[in-house]
């Protein structure tokens, strides 16, 4: 049982503040979409949760069973050890390493190493393409295959909460919907709790249990549930073009 609670978060780069009092909640077992166009702070928020950026104010809390973990005080390494994995924007694979080495590195933390073989099997079943390309250099694969590897590598750490930052970037439309479906499948079949940042509203709302819209570093709209997200006037008029 994990739940991620972000409260009144203020963060940025140097003197430039990007997020202003952002609050959101990712309940256990749900897929939450963080929606917004480019430059509104989605990636900054994701990086804060993964520990790559330290927030200046506010809190990020992971509720794991009875424990309350203050993630803002953790290093990226500790955050991975608490069961959070991130698929970063732009995939960020190790291009010169093989597919297999990329996956193995994903299982670096002690608990994940024990399940290494099992996790690799799981990833190869989820993305059979990766099994075919096992010994190939990651950088020499197509964009779609690289995105599969990025997701699979994050799964290798056996996370409870998966952060996915813009899985659709740079992919052909058919691959985008396949990728989104796979992420949805991880939630439904594996029970993984997911926070996904996305600018492709049409695709993201297909799998989201609820969503937040972020505009200029502030939460402009927080939906109660999936229907609320789809039926909202603001979403319809600005982002879906209906």
């Amino acid at each position: 049982m994990v739940e991620l609670v972000v409260k009144d978060l203020v963060a940025g780069y140097g003197n430039v503040s990007v997020l202003h009092n952002v609050s959101l909640d990712v309940p256990n077992g749900e897929t939450v979409a963080l929606l917004g166009t480019n430059g509104n702070g989605k990636s900054t928020l994701m990086r804060c949760i993964a520990g790559l950026i330290k927030p200046t104010e506010g809190s990020i809390t992971l509720k794991d069973g009875d424990r309350q973990i203050d993630l803002a005080a953790c290093s990226p390494k500790q955050i991975v050890e608490h069961g959070i994995a991130m698929v970063p924007e732009g995939r960020r694979l190790f291009p010169l390493l093989t597919v297999e080495d990329n996956l193995t590195l994903g299982a670096y933390r002690a608990e994940a190493r024990e399940k290494l073989a099992e996790s690799i099997d799981f990833c190869f079943t989820l993305f059979p393409r990766l099994a075919e390309r096992k010994t190939q250099q990651a950088g020499s694969m197509s964009g779609g295959e690289q995105q599969m590897l990025a997701v699979a590598r994050a799964l290798m750490s056996d996370p409870k909460l998966l952060l996915v930052d813009e899985p659709s970037v740079g992919l052909a439309p058919i691959l985008v919907s396949q990728m989104i479906e796979k992420i949805g499948e991880l939630n439904t079949s594996r029970g993984l709790t997911i926070l996904m940042a996305e600018q492709n509203f049409n695709q993201a709302i297909k799998i989201a249990d609820k969503g937040y819209i972020i505009v200029h570093g502030e939460i402009a709209f927080a939906s109660k549930d999936a229907t609320d997200l789809r039926e909202n006037d603001m979403v319809k008029s600005y982002y879906l073009g209906v």
Binding site: K77, R92, L105
Partner: protein
Amino acid sequence: MIILELFINALIAGILLGGFFAALSIGLSICFGLLDTVNIAHPTFIVAAAFCTFILNANFGIDPILAGIIITPLFFGLGWVIYSLYYQFFEKTSAEALRGLAFFFGLLFITEVVLIISFGVDHRLVNAAYIGKSFGGEFAGISVSVPFRLLSAFVVAAILTLGLQMFLDRSFFGRATRAVHQDMMALSLMGVDPVAIKRIAFAIGLGTCGIAGALMIIVIPIEPAVGRLFIGNVFAIVVLGGLGSISGTLIAAMILGIAESMVSTFFGPSWAPAVSFTILLGVLAFRPTGLLGVGDTR
């Protein structure tokens, strides 16, 4: 027949020399090829290790190879300290390119001066049962001679380099070391502290100086500035093999060892130092990333 005999002897000596070169270069291949630290002082640290071996051998009669193993943790520790300083003052502030090079140049001179003050500029040697003897015989009318000192250095070098390569290839730590220069941020998302990886890897790279120094004093007489002779060689080998490729380094060391041995047999020893850079230029003209270097596919 005499030409064939010369050729075969030069080939054997070259292969043995290549193994020795591999031991000298593998630490630099890690520090420079995988971690992007231009450790120009690497050969000088090897000379420092050679002097440590000399002390242990001359004062306590310890076998030079055993001495090399004994001092390896010392050089591992030294590498740990050097990288911590380098990270704190240069890499963290992104000033590594030129000022970092100056830092290692400074270390080179300081080490050299300390060695000169402590030992003078005389050449030093070590004693061991296998030094000064050779193994030889006639095979099909060709007389072959293999100096034991080169053979023992080759065997130790092979164990060191192949063992290290296997470790970097198969362990979690090795994979992280190979990944760290490709994407540090992505590595921290895997739950790995990239700076810790670099620190340990650099320490391992410098740790190899312990064994390499012992091999150096087994193979040649040493004096404090002898490291300079090898700066060209080791950098040429690492670049020739391809940055980031340990197996490339081992192959390049072999090629250079054989080529130098051939050239000094057939054209005279004074030509030998020109060999490494001639081969380097030739190979880089056709393969800019080195023999096994893959370049950057990003």
